[in-house]
């Protein structure tokens, strides 16, 4: 038997029967905008975001992977997020609207 578990975030986005086509379109657009924003980041910022946000490594673990001090991890993360907030400001504003926020319930 193959032991495969799908993460909550993934299953929530791939299999979500309650989403209508408009919500799915908005969700796909959001994903594309996030992907593009991450690609725009300088490499040191681009690589640290997935380690923290998606793989959920601790600062100490990230420092080990990137071979840098924990202080550098913290400052890079702070700067990377600040840059992402700037790049994704419009997306964040839209996702804060009631219609979009409603579409994400259950995630």
């Amino acid at each position: 038997m193959i032991d495969i578990e799908i993460g909550d975030g993934v299953s929530g986005s791939i299999v979500e029967p309650s989403k209508n086509s408009h919500d799915l379109h908005v969700s796909k657009m959001e994903t594309e905008q996030v992907r593009a924003a991450i690609q725009e980041l300088p490499i040191p910022f681009r690589e640290i975001i997935p380690l923290r946000e998606y793989e959920e490594l601790s600062y100490q673990e990230i420092a080990g992977v990137l071979d840098c001090p924990v202080g550098t991890v913290m400052s890079r993360l702070g700067r990377a997020r600040a840059k992402l907030r700037e790049l994704l400001s419009e997306t964040l504003e839209r996702s804060d609207s009631p219609s979009v926020r409603g579409s994400n319930e259950g995630l």
């Binding site: 975030g9 946000e53 071979d67």
Partner: protein, 292 residues
């Protein structure tokens, strides 16, 4: 009393679950009475939520995967990352849609034993390990380049333009290798361009050539972080070239003037024979040098 400037810095640590004990309690207390920090926290949470929702279509870059996989294959102390961590991350990156269970104690104990064994390795073996890591990086970069996922950042046939482009971008003085035949013989290959690739905690230079309808990659890094060792050794012009065949690619590595080069190609011939495709005059005793 600590102000918002202090707690503002802690918002990130709180979000990342790095705030514990007294610090966490103080932060909670401050949030209760500070609308500014609450708003800032909500903004950070909104960004974090957006990033999480985008997760399915995101995958780590090839360069980052290589570095993590490499960290896993290197001796335990090379990156400071525990073996357990390296395996865990590598597994996660290979299968981004699956959750990963933490290794059991027997696995952990095995990992510790591997670390201990790694510490006992002789310097020569460590050097070979560094060399293998460099070759693996070079092959991975070559594959990505062939597959189109590593587009060139500078496109030029001019060695001086390519060299100038890398100046200041890589943590070493970049020099292209220079075959003696360039001085008087017709070249059967041409420089195409280059780009930066992640290597260890910095960057290495990836240089692209074209020969006989084939793409050739050259990875250049400082000899402090990369070694040339193993394979068939052929001394030429004061340089020892190491030839090996890896995963259907011909790989040639050498170190000179503080730099280590790894040339990856699918040119016909094995070992030294693949060099003769482009450098026929090597058979006559000519040799390579490096641009000074």
């Amino acid at each position: 009393m600590k102000g918002c400037d202090y707690y503002g810095m802690n918002i990130q640590r709180y979000l990342d679950k790095e705030l514990i004990g007294q610090d966490l309690e103080e932060f909670h207390a401050h949030l209760e009475e500070c609308p500014t920090c609450r708003t800032q926290l909500e903004e950070e949470e909104a960004l974090s939520g957006l990033l999480h929702r985008s997760r399915p279509l995101y995958s780590a870059s090839d360069a980052l995967r290589r570095r993590i996989l490499q960290a896993d294959s290197l001796p335990s102390t090379a990156t400071g990352a525990p073996v357990r961590l390296g395996k865990r991350i590598a597994k996660m990156l290979e299968r981004p849609f699956q959750s990963v269970k933490r290794p059991s104690w027997p696995v952990f104990v095995t990992a510790i034993l591997l670390v201990a064994a790694g510490l006992l390795l002789a310097p020569g073996i460590l050097r070979q390990s560094r060399a293998n890591g460099y070759i693996e990086t070079a092959i991975a970069a070559h594959r990505s380049f062939l597959g189109g996922s590593l587009p060139l950042e500078i496109q030029s046939e001019s060695p001086s333009i390519v060299t100038a482009w890398f100046a200041g971008k890589v943590p070493f003085t970049f020099r292209l290798p220079n075959s003696a035949e360039e001085l008087g013989h017709e070249q059967t290959y041409r420089l195409v361009g280059g780009r930066l690739v992640n290597y260890k905690s910095g960057y290495a230079a990836l240089v692209a050539y074209q020969a006989q309808q084939q793409k050739i990659s050259l990875l250049v890094s400082s000899s402090r972080s990369a070694a040339a060792a193993g394979g068939e050794e052929v001394p030429s012009g004061g340089i020892v070239f190491h030839y090996s065949k890896r995963a259907s690619f011909n790989v040639i590595t050498w170190s000179t003037h503080g730099l280590t080069y790894a040339l990856v190609s699918s040119l016909p011939g094995s070992g030294r024979g693949s060099c003769l495709v482009c450098h026929q005059n090597m058979a006559n005793g000519s040799h390579f040098s490096a641009h000074q």
